[in-house]
């Protein structure tokens, strides 16, 4: 099992990662916090939609979609492929 640094949008479906840091505008940061995105929490990539569309991830017991552009600002550490 390898440990590597990456961002949320780069994960492949099935990958599990830990959130390392959030690099976002204050307003969007607050919204993601409320949805459970905090440093140290685990996220699972469920799927990526076609045509460079949004991604679908699970964090805790919540499932959310977010745009890849925004997900690129969520830095993660990959823990399992």
């Amino acid at each position: 099992m390898s440990v590597s640094h990456s961002h949320l949008a780069a994960l492949k479906p099935g990958h599990i990662a830990i959130i390392a840091s959030l690099n976002l505008s204050p307003q969007f940061h607050q919204r993601l916090l409320a949805l459970g995105f905090r440093q140290g929490r685990q996220v699972t990539m469920l799927r990526r939609s076609a045509f460079a569309g949004p991604i679908h991830v699970r964090i805790g017991t919540t499932e959310v979609m977010l745009r890849r552009r925004d997900a690129q600002n969520v830095n993660v550490t990959l823990v399992r492929r």
Partner: protein
């Protein structure tokens, strides 16, 4: 009089609880952002009367979107005796943060852990007493959807509410929410302490029904075709079940007219008789015959809205919508607009970027709402064979999409938007039978209220215009309507819209039901062979289709204009929406009508 507010994150069942608690009929749906405005109900709890207020969901007390601001303004201006905090037990791992923030407001609060029925399926176990110790407020586990059919939680919740309310003599008002704020780090520490102590979440429950369904419904290739297939199926259900019911009801109303009304009114002067039967009765009867279609349509709508599929459609369509300057939420609102444009336009409050909101509001009125559907069912069944009628009707849905698309492309430069997008995808759910009926019933009630206010007046005016002055043949060029119609002919003749249809269009500005009643009155005047026959006799299908295109595209009704102005806070924007929709309607009808005539139809 005491005052209670229902507060919580979006989509946690606040409105469901509010409805059960107060007997109100707030809209419920499996979509974060269903409620965007305050709704109040009054009830007696034990000895005291209390106002209960259902609020939009908020993620954070310090939020910035329009619906979150509605809540902030409410809290800072309204003294409260009690706050009922509702959270989704399954998502307690993050939603407790809002309870911690609300606790700081120093207003008595009760925390209801809702959706207790779903928690076991997701492997979430909660110790309510321990949470109560941490938060120093009553904490009760319950199900707002199933009430006492699921455990004893609901009754216990009501008891706790009565008790706390009884103890609280004076209301408390938050002067300034930011004074009560805690910083994120401390919030996280407190949250973790409670979760450690009182919550257990098993990781073995990740393969739920929702996960399995999503594998198909959100499939990169199959997802979109499945979505459109589902929408087509809904259309087919409403059409194949709805039209026979409508025909049956309309037949029944005709029978009553011939068997009972006409004999009774024979002694009356013919003008009065014509007014009462050919005007009021026929006009209103034609509109009322569509109640079964409305019911059926909103049965389906209730299922779609409660299923959680709306949020999925946002996922599937976001890439496409982004290229139009919109996002997945705009698509969801357009879908809701197929029921009624007004709540859909209000639903854009969840968007933070003004550009995005405006562009969405410009696009939503092109959604073919249920009122327009009735007009189109009426005309297509009158003018087309039963084999092609549903296809013709469906083609209007395609035009509706196309109009929205063209509008977004043309105007996206004016309304730039860089709003980031994150949306919850809630689990799939199915509404209870009661929820389905309540949803449809609310619409029918709304429709009946409309009929009282506008439809009757509209129909009466159209009939009078068609029959005044009294000494000329009804519906002829010499009548008032003939004169108005002639006056606008230079504009509408190139579209194949004759002067009678023009009158229906002019009054259709008020509401599309008036178009329907108006058509009945206009064409009922001149025949005995049934209304449909009369229309088919006087206009051909090319004219009819051109008329339907115009009806589809020009501004849906006065309420839509009013809500556009209120939500955008700009008369200029509302004017733009009206002018643009009329222009697009004219151009489309013109191209269609002249094109079809050129091709020899």
């Amino acid at each position: 009089m005491k005052r209670i507010a229902v507060l919580g994150m979006p989509n946690t069942g606040k409105s469901t609880f509010f409805n059960r608690f107060t007997g109100a009929t707030a809209s419920v749906g499996n979509w974060a952002g269903m409620t965007v405005d305050l709704m109040m109900a009054t009830l007696k709890i034990g000895e005291v009367t209390a106002d209960v207020i259902d609020l939009p969901g908020i993620y954070d007390l310090r939020g910035f979107s329009e619906d979150e601001m509605v809540v902030q303004r409410f809290l800072e201006s309204t003294p409260l005796h009690l706050i009922i905090i509702i959270l989704n037990t399954v998502q307690i791992d993050r939603q407790l943060s809002l309870a911690l923030q609300i606790k700081r407001l120093q207003i008595p609060a009760i925390l209801l852990l809702n959706m207790a029925d779903e928690a076991p399926k997701f492997g979430v176990k909660v110790n309510a007493e321990k949470i109560a110790q941490h938060l120093e407020m009553p904490v009760i586990s319950m199900s707002a959807k199933y009430g006492n059919q699921y455990g004893k939680g609901y009754d216990a919740a009501i008891d706790a509410i009565a008790q706390t309310l009884h103890q609280q003599e004076h209301p408390i008002c938050v002067r300034n929410i930011s004074d009560c704020a805690i910083d994120d780090r401390q919030l996280a520490t407190e949250l973790d302490a409670i979760l450690q102590d009182a919550v257990h979440i098993s990781t073995q429950h990740s393969n739920t029904l929702t996960t399995r369904l999503d594998r198909f419904l959100l499939h990169p290739i199959l997802g979109l075709p499945l979505f459109f297939a589902a929408m087509y199926l809904m259309f087919q259900v409403v059409y194949t079940l709805g039209t026979p019911l409508q025909a049956f009801l309309s037949f029944g109303l005709d029978w009553i007219k011939v068997a009972a009304l006409e004999p009774v009114f024979t002694p009356f002067p013919s003008f009065l008789k014509g007014f009462l039967i050919g005007g009021l009765y026929d006009g209103i009867g034609t509109v009322v015959a569509f109640i079964p279609v409305i019911l059926l349509f909103f049965f389906c709508m209730a299922i779609v809205e409660d299923s959680g599929y709306l949020a999925r459609s946002a996922f599937l369509m976001d890439a496409f919508m982004e290229r139009l300057g919109l996002d997945g939420r705009s698509f969801v609102m357009s879908l809701m607009g197929f029921g009624c444009n007004v709540p859909a336009i209000m639903g854009t409050r969840v968007m933070r970027s003004p550009g995005l909101r405006m562009l969405s509001m410009l696009v939503i009125p092109f959604s073919l709402c249920s009122a327009r559907l009735n007009v189109f069912i009426f005309m297509t069944t009158a003018l087309f064979t039963p084999q092609v009628a549903p296809g013709v009707l469906f083609s209007l849905y395609l035009f509706s999409f196309a109009a929205a698309l063209v509008t977004a492309l043309l105007f996206k430069g004016q309304f730039p938007n860089h709003d980031p997008l994150v949306l919850e995808l809630p689990p799939y759910r199915f509404p209870t039978i009661k929820q389905i009926f309540v949803r449809a019933w609310v619409e029918v009630k709304h429709f009946l209220r409309w009929s009282n206010q506008f439809i009757i007046a509209g129909v009466v005016i159209i009939w009078l215009l068609n029959h005044l002055p009294m000494d000329v043949p009804p519906a002829s060029k010499q009548t008032l309507s003939g004169m108005i119609g002639q006056a606008v002919q230079p504009l509408l003749q190139p579209l194949g819209i004759n002067s009678q249809l023009a009158i229906a269009l002019i009054f259709g500005f008020v509401a599309k039901e008036v178009v329907l009643g108006g058509l009945a009155v206009i064409y009922g005047a001149s025949n005995d062979a049934g209304l449909g026959g009369a229309i088919a006799h006087q206009i051909d299908w090319v004219q009819a289709y051109s008329f339907m295109l115009f009806t589809l595209l020009y501004i849906p009704c006065l309420s839509t204009i009013a809500v556009l102005k209120r939500e955008s806070k700009s008369a200029k924007f509302a004017t733009l929406a009206v002018v643009w929709s009329i222009a697009l309607a004219w151009i489309t009808s013109f191209l269609f009508y002249q094109g079809a005539r050129l091709l020899g139809f």
